[in-house]
């Protein structure tokens, strides 16, 4: 697997972004595959992008593509939200940003005994993960339920 010069990398990134915009499905598969396989862009749709760009693409670039595209999606979706629902918008965005709970779950799930360094690092990680898990859960349940409560109050004129 050859190294990329910055120019090539930039070109590759540009092409990846183009591909993503043009053929969302293909790019999405590519991004996902590349992401899971980290440094070894080997199979599936990733090979297509690989061939097209003539080099390995850092998974970071795929994540960045997803990130940038999601910002644009967010931009257009949020502008279409009616101003009357801006408060529920804030509470629901708050609830969904608690998807950070996946990080907390991974941390709580670590093996408590660290076989590599023998230090107490894993115990700490588990502790931090647990705190994060509780905080995120408050947000998930609180955020979605309070949004639901608010939205239930919005009624149309009867008759």
């Amino acid at each position: 697997m050859e190294q990329l010069t910055p120019d090539q990398a930039a070109e590759a990134a540009r092409q990846a972004a183009d591909a993503a915009a043009a053929a969302a499905d293909a790019a999405r598969e590519a991004a996902l595959a590349a992401q899971s396989y980290a440094d070894q862009v080997a199979d599936g749709a990733a090979a297509v992008v690989h061939a097209a760009t003539g080099g390995a693409i850092d998974p970071f670039v795929f994540r960045l593509s997803i990130f940038v595209l999601a910002i644009f999606v967010g931009y257009y979706v949020v502008w279409s939200v009616t101003p009357a629902l801006h408060t529920p918008l804030m509470s629901v965005t708050n609830a969904i940003s608690s998807v950070i709970v996946v990080g907390a779950l991974l941390a709580v799930g670590v093996e408590a005994v660290d076989t590599i360094s023998g230090s107490s690092g894993h115990l700490w990680a588990q502790g931090f993960g647990f705190v994060a898990l509780v905080l995120a859960s408050v947000n998930i349940f609180g955020g979605f339920l309070v949004t639901n409560r608010m939205l239930a109050m919005y009624k149309k004129k009867s008759g």
Binding site: A84, M90, G103, I116, V138
Partner: protein, 467 residues
């Protein structure tokens, strides 16, 4: 045990469901379905994680279930109990939780990098460290910033801006220090440096929000919303998790757009809001120098008489209505007027209240149908045809000085043209100025009648007089 590819696709699905959750908010009719999709997306993300990295130890499962249960119960109780007037505080508090959770997840990733697939202790990829430190810095800033915003909104702290001497230099110094520390962390992966980053960011978060006054709170709350999104995205990059990256980007841009809308509603630049110092007065008669000029005062009976004989009344609610909890009485008054054949509409200024859309929620809580509630640009032209503008708890957003007096601090702010209505009824506790600390010329106009009382009591007596 799920394969990495299936896992990634499932995360993507939950990301798409989150997009659809926001999309649903384009209309109240589709919003509840959208919220449901958001919940499904969250459930998918959690279950996927548990299926992909199923902990082998029973103790870990216990911790997970315990954590979800504690958080879930606390969250559910809060969601059920919270008063709608307290939504701004609640949202600020929730933002602080996201910020702190981001810090905790980053710390966990630092102490047990193998669990997140980013290397081993002492050997974490440099790129992951950069992403992690950005996430943790923004998360910590969000945390203390939101705590202070909460204290200000909740009244634990004065809404008055607190201006430290040389604060811009202090903040700039801290920001530079933060960059240096991040570089040091990437080079050394020292845990001590990590905690220093957390500490500096915590201090910075507090210092950023402290100088911002009560009037700018809608911007602050939206801004912190945006920050919590960027923090989540930073962690998402570290973990290589699509759902987190998509969500972070969505929330980040959502908060940024809301901040923009709020700034535009006040005709203030984002920079000037961040620099702070604006709007120290708290609502009430104590604020500002009171001018000794004659105003026309009226009673509840006068107001009832005028409105009963009107053909069109536009109600302009503001934060004072929320404070007095007058929304239910207000709706009762509107019902009585409608029974008399009067056309009633509500006009909402973008920055009315303490957060975007706050007034709409309060009116919805009082069963006001949402198709009677209008935004500034949709209703402003109608004031000229209205017989009565009923201003309750709003002040600065109706001040004509914003259009006529270039020296006024609120000059250029879009306002509701209530002065064009036949009669302006102003419900107010006293002659004090509004949050911006500006005298309102409208009080002294011939067609203005001041109704000095607590908003709720005044509306209730008007309802009584309407019989």
């Amino acid at each position: 045990m799920l394969s990495p590819n299936v896992t990634a696709v499932l995360y993507l699905i939950s990301g798409v469901l989150f997009i659809m959750a926001l999309r649903g908010l384009s209309s109240p009719a589709t919003s509840r379905r959208g919220n449901l999709l958001g919940m499904v997306g969250m459930a998918i993300a959690i279950l996927t994680t548990l299926a992909y990295a199923a902990p082998r130890a029973g103790a870990a499962w216990t911790l997970i279930i315990l954590g979800l249960a504690i958080g879930g119960i606390v969250g559910a109780v809060i969601a059920r109990r919270i008063a709608m007037t307290a939504m701004p505080q609640l949202v600020a508090a929730f933002h602080s939780l996201v910020g702190l959770a981001a810090v905790m997840v980053a710390a966990a990733a630092l102490y047990a990098p193998e669990a997140f697939g980013i290397g081993a202790v002492g050997l974490i990829h440099g790129q992951a460290l950069v992403e992690m430190s950005l996430g943790v810095a923004i998360g910590a800033i969000t945390f203390t910033g939101s705590v202070i915003a909460f204290a200000k909104l909740n009244g634990n702290m004065s809404g008055r801006p607190i201006l430290l001497p040389g604060r811009h230099f202090i903040n700039a110094g801290l920001a530079i220090l933060l960059v240096v520390l991040i570089i040091a962390l990437v080079r050394t992966e020292s845990h001590a440096v990590f905690w220093l980053i957390v500490l500096v960011s915590l201090v910075l978060g507090g210092l950023i929000i402290v100088p911002i006054g009560g009037a700018d709170m809608p911007v602050v709350v939206s801004m912190l919303n945006s920050y919590s999104g960027w923090a989540a995205a930073g962690i998402g990059f570290t973990l290589g998790n699509t759902a987190l990256i998509i969500t972070g980007a969505l929330v980040g841009s959502s908060g940024a757009i809301l901040s923009y809308i709020m700034c535009k509603g006040m005709n203030r630049s984002f920079i000037s809001v961040i620099l702070g110092g604006f709007g120290g007065e708290t609502a009430g008669p104590s604020g500002g120098a009171v001018e000794q000029r004659p105003v026309k005062q009226g009673s509840a009976e006068d107001a009832a008489f005028i409105m009963k004989n009107a053909s069109k009344v536009i109600i302009v609610p503001g934060y004072g209505m929320a404070v007095a909890q007058a929304q239910h009485a207000l709706r009762e008054m509107a019902d009585k007027l409608k029974a008399e054949g009067v056309e009633v509409k509500y006009a909402i200024h973008p920055v009315a209240g303490r957060m975007p859309g706050h007034m709409n929620v309060l009116l919805a809580e009082a069963n006001v149908p949402y198709d009677e509630v209008f935004e500034l640009e949709d209703i402003n032209s109608e004031f000229a045809q209205a017989d009565v503008a009923f201003v309750i708890g709003a002040n600065d957003v109706t001040n004509p000085a914003a259009k006529t007096d270039p020296k006024s601090p609120i000059f250029g702010m879009p306002i509701l043209d209530v002065e064009k209505a036949g009669t302006v009824l102003f419900v107010k506790r006293g002659m004090g100025s509004g949050y911006a600390g500006v005298e309102n010329e409208l009080f002294f106009k011939d067609n203005t009648m001041m109704l000095f009382a607590d908003a709720k009591k005044m509306v209730e007596s008007i309802v009584k007089s309407l019989g």
